[in-house]
Amino acid sequence: MKAIELTDIELRLIEGCRKKHAKSQEMLYKHFYGYAMSISLRYCKSKDEASEVLNDSFMKVFTKVHQYDTKKSFRGWLRRIIINTAIDFYRKNEKHTHHLDVEYADREEDSTGDVIDQMSADEIYALVQSLPNVYRITFNLYEIEGYSHEEIGEQMGIPAGTSRSNLSRAKQKLRLLIKEHFGKKYEAYIR
């Protein structure tokens, strides 16, 4: 992934944050809010939780900004912080992982492709958010961030096999959710 170079204003904002300059902190927050929130929403099951994770992440950014190396991508650094915060958030809130019952959907060729293409970003995010926490995180880490199961297992403190299993279950759950969503849409369409 190619690191996006910081603009002059971003560098100045980071410098201001290093000096604990309140205005710089505010401007940095606003500047990276959209980017950070889009990541946080993927890992959280609701907007409220996403906001909490986001603010916790920015707090880490403001307190650890002196550790940031300006030669590297700030966005990458910020994303890493948000992901770690989200993992910590769910690890803290869920003392043990439940084996969730997944209602298996038939793996068959379906005609939901067009519907998926027409889904809005909010609908897609809503579907992902409706996944159980562990599945959602695993799905994001594997499918979006591109981590291997070994890396995911290391981050989440679980074996790589469990990560594979979680991903498989996440996809099965998604299939079910899409089918449900397609059904609703289809019903709405035929009416």
Binding site: M1, K19, H21, A22, K23, Q25, E26, M27, Y29, K30, Y33, G34, Y35, M37, S38, L41, R42, S51, L54, N55, F58, M59, F62, T63, R107, E108, E109, D110, T112, G113, I116, D117, M119, A121, I124, Y125, L127, V128, Y142, E143, I144, E145, G146, Y147, S148, K171, Q172, L174, R175, I178, K179, F182
Partner: protein, 499 residues
């Protein structure tokens, strides 16, 4: 990351399951999806930051207290240590003095003993003399008894008188023995002897004449007794006078002895002092130079938005001392320091906003929220120091003077909130946050502060001294181009090299 776009091509899209197609769609969405900013989230963040800053502030206060406590403890230890040094030095001096006193007393006692010995010898001599005289008296008495016996054989009536005379003589001799009066005894004995001779030679004279003679003898004896008594008084007086004379002889010696010792000490100490001045870097000597490296830990105190604020900083530089009088030093130096000051200015000032945004009309309010000041300056103090207490290793001093500030760099960063009316729709008001920075270079402010301090300078070796000096600097004028009154207090530590 290796797997994300594996096995993906257009031909296979028709054979993909719904979740695979969803995943692809999800990836596409993620690339471009950015939710709009929600102020509520920032409000929550501000609360979080405020709580964190408060916690941070408490930690800073605690750290400052810890630093203050450490500095205080160090100062107390130094003061106590210095006092101990001082106390030990004075104890040594007093011990030396008391030793001299003891020596003097011992000498006096020895002299006194010799005096007593002398007087004892005198007494012994006197007693010996008395014993000799007593023996003489005894012999004389024996002779008198013999004479009396002869006299009894010839004249019985005079016997009783002779016995009376002998008794008187015995009494006299007893008195004389008791009172150590040789002279009276000798005289009485002589008289008695003459009386006895007289009696023996005049055996055949008439009873009347004998009675007269005897009465004369009696009167003579009585007068002798009186004389003996007066002689006794005289001898006592002589003895007392002798004692007095002995003390009179001793006293001048007692006075002169320590005098000689003190003179020698003074001479010795003068030489020692010259040696000390030469060797001791703390010792005062007019015209002496001391050059030192100074380290200052300081607290800047200023007012912001009506509240007192403070921050910590350090300074380092060089300082030099010149001894202008026995107890006075002139001190000067250059200390580099940075002062960071945050001034909050929450008042809105109606200003032409064009300076901030050229697209606005004149009806604008510019609120200067906060100014962050960063000064890099040289503190150039000139102090007069009075060395209140001086020992061979320590100096306790008070110092006063002024500081001139040479600003190497003044940096100001101000945050403004510019509220403007929309140029096309005056009902709309827009706000804009603007940060402005400016710098000024090289400005000298004379007599910026009045300085007071007190401290201790102690010797570390042949040429080095350590100086610890708590100080306070009161602002005489506002500093910098923004005009801020800044008090400074702290601890100056110096290592001096005495030339």
């Amino acid at each position: 990351m290796k797997h994300i776009y594996d096995n993906q091509n257009g031909d296979q899209n028709h054979h993909k399951s719904s979740e695979e197609r969803f995943t692809e769609r999800f990836r596409e969405v993620v690339q471009n999806y950015e939710p709009v900013f929600e102020p509520a989230d920032w409000s929550a963040m501000q609360s979080k930051l405020a709580a964190h800053n408060e916690k941070d502030r408490k930690a800073v206060v605690f750290r400052r207290l810890a630093v203050f406590a450490t500095m205080g403890a160090a100062a107390v230890i130094l003061l106590f240590g210095g006092y101990q040094f001082l106390d030990n030095s004075s104890n040594t001096i007093s011990t030396q003095n008391s030793n001299q006193g003891i020596a003097f007393q011992e000498n006096s006692i020895r002299n006194q003993n010799s005096i007593n010995t002398n007087s004892t010898d005198d007494k012994t001599n006197t007693q010996n003399n008395l014993a000799e005289n007593l023996a003489k008296n005894t012999n004389q008495n024996t002779q008198n008894k013999k004479d009396t016996q002869n006299f009894t054989k010839t004249k019985s009536y005079s016997e009783s008188k002779i016995e009376e005379s002998n008794n008187n003589q015995k009494n006299n001799s007893l008195i004389t023995n008791t009172e150590n009066s040789n002279f009276s005894i000798t005289s009485s004995n002589n008289q008695l002897a003459s009386n006895s001779t007289f009696n023996s030679n005049k055996q055949e004279q008439l009873t009347g004449s004998l009675l007269n003679e005897n009465s004369n003898i009696n009167s003579n004896i009585n007068s002798n007794i009186e004389e003996a008594k007066s002689n006794k008084m005289l001898s006592v007086l002589k003895l007392e006078k002798q004692k007095f004379d002995l003390f009179a002889d001793v006293k001048p010696k007692e006075i002169t002895l320590p005098k000689l010792e003190i003179d020698e000490t003074i001479i010795a100490s003068t030489n020692q002092n010259e040696e000390l001045i030469r060797k001791n870097p703390v010792a005062s000597a007019i015209g002496k130079w001391r050059i030192g490296a100074a380290l200052m830990a300081m607290t800047n105190i200023y007012k912001s938005n009506g509240k007192q604020r403070m921050n910590y900083t350090n300074g380092y530089g060089v300082m030099a001392d010149y001894q202008i009088a026995k107890r006075f030093n002139l001190s000067a130096g250059a200390v580099y320091t940075q002062k960071r000051i945050d001034i909050e200015e929450p008042l809105s000032i109606p200003t032409i906003a064009n300076g901030f945004n050229p697209n606005t009309n004149d009806d604008a309010w510019v609120k200067k929220n906060k100014t962050q000041i960063n000064w890099q300056l040289l503190d150039l103090p000139i102090h007069l120091r009075y060395n209140a207490i001086q020992t061979d290793r320590n100096k306790w001093f008070v110092s006063a003077g002024t500081s001139n500030y040479f600003f190497l760099k003044e940096h100001y960063e101000s945050d403004y909130t510019v509220s403007t009316q929309d140029i096309y729709d005056p009902r709309l008001t827009r706000t804009q946050e603007v940060v402005r920075q400016r710098e000024t270079q090289s400005a000298l402010q004379l007599f910026a502060t009045i300085n007071v301090s007190a401290g201790l300078e102690t010797s570390l070796g042949k040429h080095l001294t350590l100086q610890v000096e708590p100080y306070w600097r009161f602002p005489v004028r506002s500093l910098g181009s923004e005009g801020v009154f800044v008090q400074t207090g702290g601890l100056l530590t110096r290592i001096n090299f005495a030339l």
